[in-house]
């Protein structure tokens, strides 16, 4: 049940300071509302009684922090999440990308990889997989390990298959994976041009120039100021006339560079860098 301990702004600041000092992760510009709730939930899961105990354990137990990182950052994802978005990618973005001899895609905040696998399937079906390089990054090493494994619980596949077909997929979805016991493993040839690596959007800079940046339901956990910085980072990481895709409820409205982008799909939150 959700009677989580409430955390004051002062307590939150103290906890975030410890994390920054001891582990180098900067959560200070994350959304306060979301962080408080996630930390409250973490304390409930770990039966941490109060903020004092939380701080003590964060300072003294590395494993406790690893679990904190895993729990407080949201890792909820799906294959072909929001099927209409993937339909728009197929129809409005991939035909343009097809003109490039080499297509570089940055999937920022890829979580456990399900949306990366989805992108690879789209690229394969468009005949672009061989010349596409996908840089899939996440703040959380445990997520990247899961993403690299290509393993998904079999129980999720019914919903994912439905998502795939709703997104306009017409192939036999089961052809993209092999089922073993209670899991499936994604066909590894789909992932041959994917580089999974750790990257912290908050503190690290651009590392390449891309034709498409996908960053869905990551920025919602940041405050407005940090969102603004990330939009600049993305802008500077995009080639002219290249694409940026956000989560369905994420917007550029409060950003000072919104006029540097044109809207490709308002509903799917796909934007294009103007020049």
């Amino acid at each position: 049940m959700s009677e989580l301990q409430e955390i004051s702004n002062t307590e939150l600041g103290e906890v975030l300071y410890i994390i920054l000092q001891y582990y180098g992760y900067d959560f200070t510009e994350y959304s306060v509302a979301s962080l408080k709730r996630r930390i409250g939930r973490f304390m409930e899961l770990t039966e941490t009684r109060d903020i004092f105990e939380l701080k003590y354990k964060l300072i003294n137990f590395k494993e406790y922090f690893s679990y904190f990182l895993q729990t407080v950052t949201v890792n909820v994802t799906e294959m072909f999440r929001d099927p209409e978005f993937y339909r728009d990618l197929r129809e409005k973005v991939l035909p343009t990308l097809a003109a490039y001899p080499i297509i570089k895609i940055w999937h920022a905040g890829c979580s456990t990889g399900e949306e990366v696998y989805s992108m690879c399937i789209l690229l394969k079906e468009a005949g672009l997989l061989n010349r596409a390089y996908i840089y899939a990054t996440d703040i959380n090493p445990a997520n990247l390990a899961a993403a690299r494994s290509g393993i998904i619980p079999l129980s999720s596949m019914k919903a994912y298959t439905q998502n795939y077909h709703l997104s306009g997929g017409t192939q036999e979805f089961a052809g993209y994976y092999t089922a073993r016991y209670n899991n499936i493993i994604i066909d590894k040839s789909l992932l041959k041009n994917v580089i999974f690596s750790r990257h912290n959007l908050v503190s690290e800079s651009s590392f390449n120039e891309f034709q498409l940046i996908v960053c869905r339901n990551v920025l919602i956990y940041f405050n407005r100021a940090l969102q603004g910085k990330i939009f600049h980072l993305f802008y500077n990481s995009l080639a002219p006339k290249s694409f940026m895709a956000l989560g369905l409820k994420e917007s550029l409205i409060s950003s000072d560079i919104k006029n540097q982008f044109e809207v490709v799909s308002a509903k799917s939150k796909i934007f294009k860098r103007k020049m």
């Binding site: 049940m1 009677e3 509302a33 709730r37 209409e84 919602i220 409820k249 409205i253």
Partner: protein, 192 residues
Amino acid sequence: MDGAGKVKDVILIGGSAGSLPIVMRLLTGMPPDFSASVIIILHRLKNAASDMDQLLSRIAGIPVEEPDDKTRMERGRVYLAPANYHLLADEEDTISLDYSEPELHSRPSINITFASFAAMYGSRVTALLLSGSNSDGAAGLKAVLEHNGSAVIQDPLDCEYPVMPEYAAVVNPGVTALTVDEIDRLFKSIVL
């Protein structure tokens, strides 16, 4: 800053099965100018293309908005929690959205929104919990009451699906239970 749009009072409406007709009733005949910010949390089907915001806008005669993340709330506006996201009250009267795990099989979760607004707005919150067939909302109402907000449940005897308000009454003994007519009158008076 006088802040014409700044949030004054917040009315939270949570509902599940059987609540849509009541939400439609509440939004019918809204006064042209009102000062509250109204937040509606309805359990909805995932991936069902839904124009609920447009449907409710037509009924209310004013825009009912599914906010994007970090939308700045204003008074005299009605916001509908988007499907698949939890809706939270954040700093500077903004709305934050959250794609974390469903709670009690629900995303949006009524508990999460109620508790978040209770912590932020305290006694300025009135929470209305309507018809529904699961246990969401009870803990949220408790948080509202603990922060000196007002809480009302739809009278289970006047409900199509009474489980949700019934459970809320068990968790919050003595919570005010009103019929739909009474809730409508209350809503129209406090929204002003």
